[in-house]
């Protein structure tokens, strides 16, 4: 994956000392993109399921670039009509950038429709490959589980979200289906949420809610505990001026021990 960066062209008007630096610079960069796994070629059905999926998180996917995964569509007939698929995704304010895991024939059709062919590995796959090295038998069992018995035609997988700027009073941010990594402070009056864990490498002064979809295993990590409220899977605790001194402004982790919310310093 690459970006094209444009820089102003510098041309000196005196022809004898004409200096010309390139107007484009090609650079490599790594992006995390949501993947749209297709398991049907019936675009009406796809649209119906897509509308349903997006209705819960419209703003998070607005104008989001997506990669279409064709893994489950190899034997499907009729062939996928990529041009129509693109129009459908654009209608729902998604920006399709490419396809992955397609057959030779599918890839050719996709290229003709203006898609890029990506060969990225999903995080799941990397973990899976890692596991397979350790335990082949387990891997076989896992593969059977992972095979598409899904009733819906679309599985949307999203990776974790990382934010480098501070979250300010009145702002909210939410990592759906993953972890939220924050490099700037969460200021008083701000709210950060994740279905997975929260990692805050800065002071936490606002509200932090992890395990929003009910995952009791999720945790909150922060570098300076000054929170107004913390919650894991709906179990919350508010702090007025009563943050215990042994954790106040300390690096802590917050997790659930049964129903009990535990806050422990990280040494």
């Amino acid at each position: 994956m690459g970006t094209i960066q444009t820089e102003p062209t510098k041309i000196n008007s005196h022809s004898s000392e004409k200096v010309h630096t390139s107007s484009v610079v090609l650079k490599g960069s790594v992006f995390t993109l949501p993947i749209l796994k297709l398991s049907s070629c019936d675009l009406d059905l796809v649209e119906k399921d897509l509308t349903l999926r997006l209705s819960t998180a419209q703003s998070f996917f607005k104008n989001a670039p997506v990669v279409i995964d064709l893994e489950f569509t190899h034997d499907l007939t009729p062939e996928i009509r990529f041009t129509q698929l693109e129009a459908l995704l654009r209608k729902h304010q998604l920006v399709p950038v490419g396809v992955q895991n397609g057959t030779q024939k599918q890839n050719e059709a996709a290229i003709n429709a203006g898609f890029a062919i990506l060969t990225g590995q999903s995080i799941d796959k990397i973990i899976e490959a890692d596991r397979s090295r350790r335990d082949e038998a387990q891997e076989a069992a896992q593969k059977q589980d992972a095979m598409p018995k899904v009733s819906t035609s679309i599985v949307m997988t999203e990776a974790s979200k990382m934010i480098t700027h501070p979250i300010r009073s009145g702002q909210r941010t939410y990592a759906k289906g993953g972890d939220l990594v924050l490099l700037g402070a969460v200021n008083a009056g701000a709210e950060v949420m994740a279905d997975g864990n929260l990692h805050i490498y800065a002071p936490l002064r606002g509200r932090a809610l992890a395990g929003l979809d009910g995952n009791t295993e999720s945790r909150i990590f922060c570098q300076s505990m000054e929170a107004e409220l913390v919650a894991i899977a709906g179990n919350y605790r508010v702090f007025e001026d009563n943050i215990p001194p042994e954790i106040f402004r300390k690096s802590v982790q917050i997790f659930l021990d049964g129903e009990q919310l535990k806050i422990e310093p990280i040494v």
């Binding site: 300010r168 009073s169 009145g170 402070a185 008083a188 701000a190 002064r205």
Partner: protein
Amino acid sequence: MAKVIVVTSGKGGVGKTTTSASVSTGFAKRGHKTVVIDFDVGLRNLDLIMGCERRVVYDFVNVIQGEATLKQALIKDKRLANLEILPASQTRDKEALTLEGVEKVINQLRETHEYIICDSPAGIETGAIMALYFADEAIVVTNPEVSSVRDSDRILGILQSKSKRAIAGQEPVKEHLLITRYSPTRVQEGEMLSIEDIQELLGIPLMGVIPESTSVLQASNAGVPVIHDDMSISGLAYQDFVARLLGEDVPLRFLDPEKKSFLKRLFGT
């Protein structure tokens, strides 16, 4: 290239209008053609502080609604030739401003002026959004107290999400922190937040500290921006602030409590 600078804070009464008046005067004094716009439609104050309230005929809303030309509404400052004021309307409300109208006026001013200072109303509603929407830079005015810092944090979030630069994905609005009504004695006694506390909470570059001084109130009442007053520490601090905005490296001053004179110490006053 003209620069649009919004003076904003979220909270009211922290010194936005005082700052707008002094900063625009400061730019003009240093030879830059400057205009200051009052966005506080319905509660106009800038013209009072600039001492031109009796010369307001047409205002910002008249221009937006096509009832007057920009030239008719601009008031020339009585002291500085390259400073103009675009006053707000006292009889209308903030709904009279439209983004299209404001954009038209600002684009027109960009042609003729170097600095366009937008004096924002308090709050986070229409008027404040209009004032910050077209900004290239923002002066965030904060007092050394918790509620003011909280509101400044809120307005910084809005700058980063609702300004034109943020929406268009351009280079973000450049933020400058200005602490006003700073009283070193009260900070020392723990009654006010320290500069370090405020900076840590807001995390944007500190560009100036204006000490609390009675000369600010006197200047406002007299309709003379305090930056004109070379005898006032607030006026001098505003002069320093303007110099820093223009890229000069000027150290902060007036941050230590005033030392009591020998006689005062002797008589305990």
